[in-house]
């Protein structure tokens, strides 16, 4: 019996082996190596000299790191909520059986096809006080001092605007697919019962969209953790250190500043932060599934 089951699954084991090895060696191996290096005194090159937690001590005392962490929390919250809200509204709008639906859908999704570098460069020009909106306003004879990119308090808002512009289309497409799968009969019944449209969407449609929203949040969250190119293209972390992000901290210290120890310590903390979110979520997900299966 046992041997029969093994022989039946053998081909799939063999087929999965390269992928499994790849994941274990490349991903997990590199993660383990990164964590190990963060406890050494490595500077330009990795060395195996034990440093204890000194890299972490310096990291946590570095203002640029604490600012980066603060920034990614603000950026992440605004970006995910912004994308969901804008994506949901455009999806609902397109779902009203409008004309040229295909064209509109393409237009809304198009920004997602651009890289963050292009997005960043374009929005930097738009916000540039000498080139963009402000220059245009001044050209019309209006006095304007918005300076969204040049003020440390508002530069991060510029990043969020650019990122939401790019990411909302993806959310729209996914939620639109979800909207199409909502049973039309329910909507008709709601209309007959005289329930206002906004309540129908909020209390009937939205719960139906839960899986799509969950997928969107996961995809957006991944984009948040690795945000680097948008910052490089738009603000270079400035003005000052106002828009620095953890991934940029890691990249700058890895090469340009030649401090692998500090860079891997920062990378390790990023990994821990991701795990801290991921593990409870996975646990909940599988726990619920297992319970559902038993029922």
């Amino acid at each position: 019996m046992q041997s029969k089951r093994i022989s039946r699954h053998l081909p799939s084991f063999v087929a999965m082996l390269p992928t499994t090895l790849f994941v274990v060696i490349i991903y997990l191996g590199c993660m383990a190596w990164t964590v190990a290096i963060s406890f050494t005194t490595s500077k330009v090159l990795p060395v195996a000299r034990w440093a204890g937690a000194t890299q972490y001590e310096r990291l946590l005392a570095t203002e640029r790191w604490t600012v980066s962490v603060h920034n990614i929390l603000i950026y992440g919250a605004c970006y995910i909520l912004g994308c969901l809200l804008l994506g949901f509204l455009t999806a609902v709008a397109i779902d009203q059986k409008v004309r040229f639906e295909n064209t509109l859908r393409t237009i809304y999704l198009f920004p997602y096809a651009l890289s963050f570098i292009v997005t960043g460069a374009v929005w930097q020009w738009i916000f540039d006080p000498q080139l963009g909106i402000e220059a245009a306003l001044r050209g019309l004879g209006l006095e304007s001092h918005i300076g969204i990119l040049s003020s440390p308090g508002t530069a991060i808002a510029a990043l969020v605007i650019a990122a939401v512009w790019q990411g909302a289309g993806l959310v729209m497409v996914m939620l639109l697919a979800g909207l199409r799968s909502v049973d039309g009969e329910i909507l008709k019944a709601a209309r007959v019962d005289g329930i206002p449209v906004w309540r129908t969407y909020l209390q009937i449609v939205l719960p139906e969209l839960k899986p799509m929203i969950a997928t969107s949040v996961v995809l957006l969250a991944i984009a948040v953790v690795k945000v680097y190119d948008l910052v490089v293209a738009m603000t270079m972390g400035g003005p000052g250190i106002a828009t620095e992000m953890p991934a940029k901290f890691v990249m700058d210290h890895l090469f340009e500043r030649g401090n692998i120890g500090l860079a891997t310590a920062a990378a390790t903390l990023m990994l821990l932060a991701v795990l801290a979110v991921l593990v409870p979520w996975l646990h909940l997900e599988y726990f619920r599934k297992a319970k559902g299966g038993a029922r």
Partner: protein, 414 residues
């Protein structure tokens, strides 16, 4: 002569035609450098042309921006795919590459050409390890110039550039009142570092500059002169415009060139931009090491040569080292680049008024200090830059808070 007799000649000619590109290919050098702005790329072309004329093949790997080039060069050298040569700033930036044994020395070429006798001591020490010359120094830069527009100064009612900071601020106010941007700034924390070090050395003097940045003396930070320097730096913040945050350094220079801004604090490579625009120093624009103490903050560029496995390419590195250091290359390159030749045995009388003035100041050891790259690693300087840029871009931060933050960083990095 019949065909039979001529055939060896033909054969030789054909062979020659075939052999020439093959031989040239063998002396190939892949060179990484950050020179992409108008003036800089003209200077890089001098090297490429001289190397080609000497029989080499120059493969250009230009990457815009010092920081981006540093990251790329480090990545390639450490990753085991090194170029033939890469630009670095003189000082500590390549020290750890030497310690890791990734760079070769150019001592054979250097000894046979007597480099040690013609390179200033600070620069010679910076490229020498265990009595071997480990990099090719190519220029001597002065990092703390103020470049100003003659037209803007004149139209704002400012005559000659002021020699003390009080008069300087009065002049900047006049420029602002006349509707110009007083201070052209761009290049982020990289450029803000030049402003910081200029103000520090000009207000507090060379001795305190070294005590702060070299000795990391916490007491020196509390000195009244140093505190005054930080206050001057803080006051200077209001004279840059709001476009500075996303501007490149050469676009800032262009504001002075086109008479939209009064002045820029930048190293002598800015002169290359003025030259590329067809301007002459002392005529349309001027240079000054004032206000405050007239001291030169010296820096330089070098090419390091990573160890290569290929013998032909190693030979090409030797040829490159010879070409880069040759007197005529030094003059031609540095005229385009705006800096001074690293060789002290070449005649600078053919150079412009700013270069000649720099050479004059550099004769006095009491009026020169090395730039921070001689005094700290990339990591250390990066951390210092983070503090400077925070101060510069946070109007509410006081000189005292800046001093405390700087002291903490200087004590914790190497």
């Amino acid at each position: 002569m019949n065909f039979r007799q001529r055939s060896p000649v033909w054969a030789a000619l054909v062979l020659c035609a075939l052999a020439t590109p093959v031989l040239a290919d063998d002396l190939t050098a892949e060179v990484m450098h950050p020179w992409t702005s108008g003036g800089e790329s003209a200077a890089a072309k001098v090297f490429a042309d001289k190397f080609t004329a000497a029989g080499g093949v120059w493969i250009d790997r230009a990457i815009a921006g010092n920081d981006a080039l540093l990251a790329a060069a480090m990545n390639r050298i450490i990753g085991g795919d090194p170029p033939s040569a890469s630009h670095f700033n003189t000082g500590k930036p390549f020290e750890e590459l030497i310690e890791a044994g990734l760079l070769r020395d150019v001592d054979t070429v250097a000894k046979s050409e007597g480099w040690a006798a013609v390179i200033p001591k600070v620069f010679l020490d910076a490229v020498t390890r265990d009595d071997k010359i480990m990099a090719v120094p190519i220029n001597l830069q002065t990092e703390n110039w103020i470049w100003y527009s003659g037209e803007v100064f004149e139209k704002s009612g400012v005559g000659e550039p002021p020699q003390n900071w009080d008069d300087f601020f009065a002049a900047a106010d006049k420029i602002k009142a006349a509707g110009y941007i007083p201070m052209a700034l761009g290049g982020g924390s990289w450029a803000e570092r030049f402003v910081f070090q200029k103000v520090l050395v000009s207000v507090a003097g060379p001795e305190l500059y070294l005590r702060v940045l070299k000795d990391r003396d916490g007491e020196a930070l509390k000195d009244a002169k140093v505190q005054e320097a930080f206050a001057v730096l803080g006051k200077l913040r209001q004279y840059a415009d709001s476009g500075a945050a996303s501007r490149k350094w050469n676009d800032a220079t262009n504001l002075v060139i086109t008479n939209k801004a009064g002045f820029q604090i930048m190293g002598d490579w800015a002169k290359g931009e003025f030259a590329a625009a067809g301007l002459t120093p002392g005529k349309e624009y001027g240079c000054t090491l004032f206000p405050g103490q007239e001291v030169s903050i010296m820096s330089g560029d070098v090419f390091v040569m990573p160890k290569l496995k290929d013998a032909q390419r190693t030979q090409a590195q030797d040829l490159l080292a010879h070409v880069l250091f040759a007197p005529e290359t030094q003059i031609a390159f540095n005229i385009k680049k705006g800096s001074n030749p690293i060789r002290q045995d070449v005649d600078v009388s053919s150079m412009d008024v700013c270069a000649r003035h720099a050479a004059e100041v550099l004769k006095d050891p009491a009026r020169q200090v090395p730039n921070p790259q001689f005094l700290m690693t990339n990591d250390g300087l990066g951390a210092v830059r983070d503090v400077i840029t925070t101060y510069w871009n946070t109007p509410a931060m006081t000189p005292g808070e800046f001093s405390d933050a700087l002291g903490k960083v200087l004590a914790s990095v190497d």
